[in-house]
Symmetry: C2
Subunit: 218 residues, 2 copies
Amino acid sequence: MGVVPADRQRAEVTQGPRAGVVATRRRGDTLLEAIFDAVFDQLRTVGYANLTMDRVAAAAGTSKTVLYRRWATKEGMIADALRHRLPSPGDIPLTGDLRADVHALLRCVQASFSATRGTAFQLVSAEAGCGRPAIRQTIIDHVVEPCVELIGEVLRRAAERGEIRPEAASELVAASGPAMLVQYSLIREPVVPDEFVASVVDQIVLPLTTRSASAEHR
Amino acid sequence: MGVVPADRQRAEVTQGPRAGVVATRRRGDTLLEAIFDAVFDQLRTVGYANLTMDRVAAAAGTSKTVLYRRWATKEGMIADALRHRLPSPGDIPLTGDLRADVHALLRCVQASFSATRGTAFQLVSAEAGCGRPAIRQTIIDHVVEPCVELIGEVLRRAAERGEIRPEAASELVAASGPAMLVQYSLIREPVVPDEFVASVVDQIVLPLTTRSASAEHR
DNA sequence: TTCATAAGATACGAATCCGTATCCAATTCG
DNA sequence: CGAATTGGATACGGATTCGTATCTTATGAA
């Protein structure tokens, strides 16, 4: 369990009147970034179960005092790290092109994996038994449900335009893309490759929107 | 964190020559079942991160010595509990009826949730950073991959019979059903309802076997 | 330059957990 | 019935983590 302090991150060459002097301390956002980096690094290397305030402090090259000044609990700190790093589905520009929009939203789900070093869905069930699952809610509220809802909206508009069958504008179909990515991230590799995202769009989500070729299975 | 010892489980009325005498100790499989019950109960109530040998022993109404006689680690104990409780996809009789077989296999995935009190996929990422992820491999090897493979097999046979388009006999399509159930278990409720399984079969997997993305979306 | 603020270092007591050792005794089987 | 096996109880030392307190000092702004 090698904890590598981020010594190199602390020696910054400053600008301004004391230009050239190597700063020894970080402040504000710079420090926050280092702490969040350490959080995801620890999640990646030791997992949620073994992540401790002690270890995050060491990995960030700071002291526990600094962490406790900001957060009362490990869970609060992780939830903040997630809020800071997770992409915002609502920021995705939607164009009205069904394939492009579905693809863009799935890439947002994909981005939630890479932004958190592949640990996002590792954390969804981490807080079992916890009365207020802040981490779990952050992930679900911030990424999963908005993406499923936005995909649903994209499907509804496509149905209104007559591009897809009306029944395809369902929550099940909207959830199918994210479901494939979640499973891939959990079972295969934490970070989902671009090609997989594209094939989920083309071989799962879009086919579900087209009309039935036959009813022979019933 | 109320740990309720299973006192009631220990007073068994014995059969045989000492019939009627209330036994105070459990042995063999009876004891194992109690331990495994305690494991899943603890996973459900405090999560993997907070599950300890001390607590499992207390919840099972036994001593740590009994646990350490059988398992060197918490992970080994959990992996054994899973092997004992998880369903075996290979045991599912396949009939050649596409819908029935896909449904049966998805119900097997569903059973893995209920058999473990909804904790199966909570554990998939529990061992991040661990060199030999016994728990994760148990779940993936025991349920997920066999089910995806068997669904793939069912699809291939259906394609051979000319019931579905050949391109639908793909791993992506085979994985879509389990993906929907995994996501539901993680995001919604740990245990998947029957109706959801049925709608995944009818509204996701089966439609994927007959449809493809049409050219108009490009 | 001065001062307020926040970073960083360190120490500390309490609690928990782990893994082991030892012992007693319930249970089962020959 | 007696012996072997296994269940259960308990104690213990060591390690780790938590959360807090205290102090020094680097940093940035006025």
